[in-house]
Amino acid sequence: MAAVPLIYIARNLWVRRVTTLLTAAGMALVVFVFATVLMMSEGIRATLVATGQPDNVIVLRKGAGAEINSGISRSQAAVLETLPGIALGPLGGALVSKEPVVLNNLPKRGSGKPSNVTLRGTSATGLALRPQVRLAEGRMFKPGSSEVVAGRAVARGFEGVALGSVLRFAGRDWTVVGLLDAGRSGFDSEIWGDAEQIMQAFRRQSFSSVVFRLDDAGDFERVRQLVDDDPRLTLEAKREVRFYAEQSEALANFIGILGTSLAVIFSIGATVGATITMFGSVASRVGEIGTLRALGFRRGAVLGAFLGEALLLSLVGGLVGLAAASAMQSVDVSTTNFSTFSELAFQFTLTPAIALKALLFALAMGVIGGFVPAWRAARLKIVDCLRAA
């Protein structure tokens, strides 16, 4: 069966430029919204997943869920340090970091409104446990001093955080002596200082979390069991990767669900637009359809031609929308993560899967919008068509 040439289909769209453009623009907007929402939830996920290390284990108080809710006493932390299977650092010490985590208000750049920034007390071991974090500028804080280092996103997003600036909190002045580049992970949104100094300043009796590296990542189940079975420890050990994935879940899912339902609602509008355009296209070409049929093209070919036109229309819309969405990748966003109650900076992340989903979404709009008009075009009788011409 001969098919109607593609060039004929494409030219038809070109002839009705204004209408084509309006319809494609509507679809492009829908695809743009759909893609950016997926990119946003992917960005949050990617940022937090990059935060965890596969062979690191994080221990929190049972049921705490987030570091700020958790509390681990010094004696409990000491027990954890003696667990078997913990990797040793280059100097022979166990790779264990006992960290207090507190939230601190800082004014956001631009709006000046205060937002919570995670303040983590750590040590040189803490830095060694996170190979993705490195110093971008300045130097690391000196142990036992009121010095801090700030993540890149904090320096960018909050007022008064820069190399050499002084932050006032917990009754002390803290000097920012370095900026961290955490490779787009959650640590970019944190400020790090000396663990003991932070506990003193905030009058904390307990750590928030204990992080350690396993010699062998496969050992995790055994270590978890040990922590579970020890009556002195009302704690729970988690793989760091899983812990951070859980932190991203609430926010990423919320944005994902909200965004997808919005995109679906919007797509109804855009599909209606496509249907109207295609009906118009059919109505203005009744004579042509008759001619095509008289020339020997079958009903199926006519159906295919109009469906092809709708698909091409939606493909144009989809590509334009996707192109606009990919431009969003250079935009930095930051919002409060519900799970940690603190600011998290992330970027829109476009993955091939998202691009494919967005294009399929556009094509689906084209098929649904174009099918009924194409069906009607294919069902027209040759005689009626030619009479109309």
Binding site: L22, L103, N116, G171, L262, G269, I276, F279, T335
Partner: protein, 386 residues
């Protein structure tokens, strides 16, 4: 009258196309309304706040508690008429999905400061007498089917362990803006349990102080007095009006709110494109008719009125249907979202904006074709007829 009939006839000449356009409008206008309502719901806490209440919290952040000893010093500050305190409890009822706010409060003081929580006298007394008792909002009780006397277990995230409470009272909001999804428990019970458990450590701490003042005009002055009192102490305070405090929470999700607001405008633009498309097609098909009308002596203005009238008619019918659909849609969404949005109402402003958006869509959609049609050359137009 004649014009109106002509308009209606014209609008429904292409029944399918008109109906499709209207469907698009209904979807767009109701989605626009729903989005605005979601954004409004975010601000509900701030809207419901009272101008005679101040919130004092740690200057560092909300997660840092204040000592209980501040209560007496706060009470002594000039201009303070009432005081209470609360701790965010953050417990989980059965599963994480059943989120609702729980506050451990200083009972008598708290109820005095929040007159909008209306309790029956006998229930109020029953709650105040029972250390383990809780008060919950009407909607929350209805959601989980709780009755007075029921035991409610909560799994603590901040305060470890499983806690069980007895439902002693159910409050109703004095008006529709009051959040009826909260649970209040006794701070004293929480504190005593913690003290027994931790042998004295980490007890006698409160999350925030709620301060009552008589005259809202003095809010700034009294806030300054309070913060000055605790300046350079171990726990410096930050005092702000309840509204500012609530808006602080809203500001945290600002990125999401801005996105929602942008998206709600985008949908109006999309539907404008769809509608403009319809009107352009309509005008193109009727080229010959308009030429005939002009040849008969009708002014270009008449043709313009005809197009605008038709466009507005479609937009208004679609808009009205969308507006009416928003209410059941909002109710359904609120049911799905559960306790996430405690107050979910379609406001009058939203409805006015919806009507405005429909009107705007109708006007803009007709602008280009109307301008073009008013300028058609009669001869060229009539030639189309042949």
């Amino acid at each position: 009258m004649f014009l109106l009939r002509l308009l209606i006839r014209n609008a429904f000449r292409h029944r399918l196309r008109t109906v499709l356009t209207m469907v698009g409008l209904v979807v767009a206008i109701s989605a626009f309304g729903l989005l605005r309502t979601i954004v409004d719901a975010w601000y509900a806490g701030a809207e419901a706040s009272s101008s005679t209440r101040l919130i004092t919290r740690s200057a560092t952040s909300l997660s840092v508690p204040l000592p209980l000893s501040y209560a007496q010093r706060l009470r002594a500050i000039d201009g303070v008429t009432g005081i209470s305190w609360s701790n965010w409890f953050g417990g989980i009822y059965v599963s994480e999905r059943n989120f609702f706010p729980q506050f451990a409060v200083d009972g008598p003081g708290y109820l005095a400061l929040y007159p909008e929580f209306v309790l029956k006298d006998d229930q109020r007394l029953a709650w105040l007498r029972d250390r383990q008792g809780v008060v919950v909002g009407r909607k929350l009780a209805a959601k989980f089917g709780w009755k007075l006397g029921d035991t409610i277990p909560l799994r603590g995230t901040i305060f470890a362990g499983t806690w069980s409470f007895t439902l002693r009272a159910i409050y109703e909001g004095a008006d529709a803006s009051v959040d009826e999804n909260q649970m209040l428990m006794h701070w004293a019970y929480l504190n005593e349990t913690l003290r027994a458990r931790n042998r004295g450590r980490s007890s006698d701490f409160v999350g925030v102080y709620v301060i009552g003042i008589r005259d809202p005009a003095n809010a700034a002055l009294i806030s300054q007095r309070i913060d000055a009192q605790f300046k350079n102490s171990l726990a410096e305070t930050l005092t702000e009006t309840e509204k500012a405090f609530q808006l602080g929470f809203v500001a945290m999700s600002e990125a999401i709110l801005v996105a929602l607001q942008a998206v709600s405008s985008i949908i109006v633009v999309i539907i404008m494109a769809v509608m403009a498309n319809t009107m352009t097609m309509t005008a193109r098909e009727r080229l010959a008719e308009y030429a005939t009308l002009k040849a008969l002596g009708f002014s270009p203005g008449f043709v313009v009125r005809l197009l605008f009238g038709e466009s507005l008619l479609i937009a208004l019918i679609g808009g009205l249907a969308g507006l009416l659909l928003t209410l059941p849609l909002a109710a359904a969404f609120s049911g799905l979202a559960g306790t996430l949005f405690p107050v979910f109402r379609v406001s009058g402003t939203t409805m006015a904006l919806q009507a405005g958006a429909a009107l705007l869509v109708g006007m803009v959609a007709a602008a280009w074709p109307a301008w073009k049609m008013s300028r058609i050359n009669i001869v060229a137009g009539l030639r189309n007829l042949a």
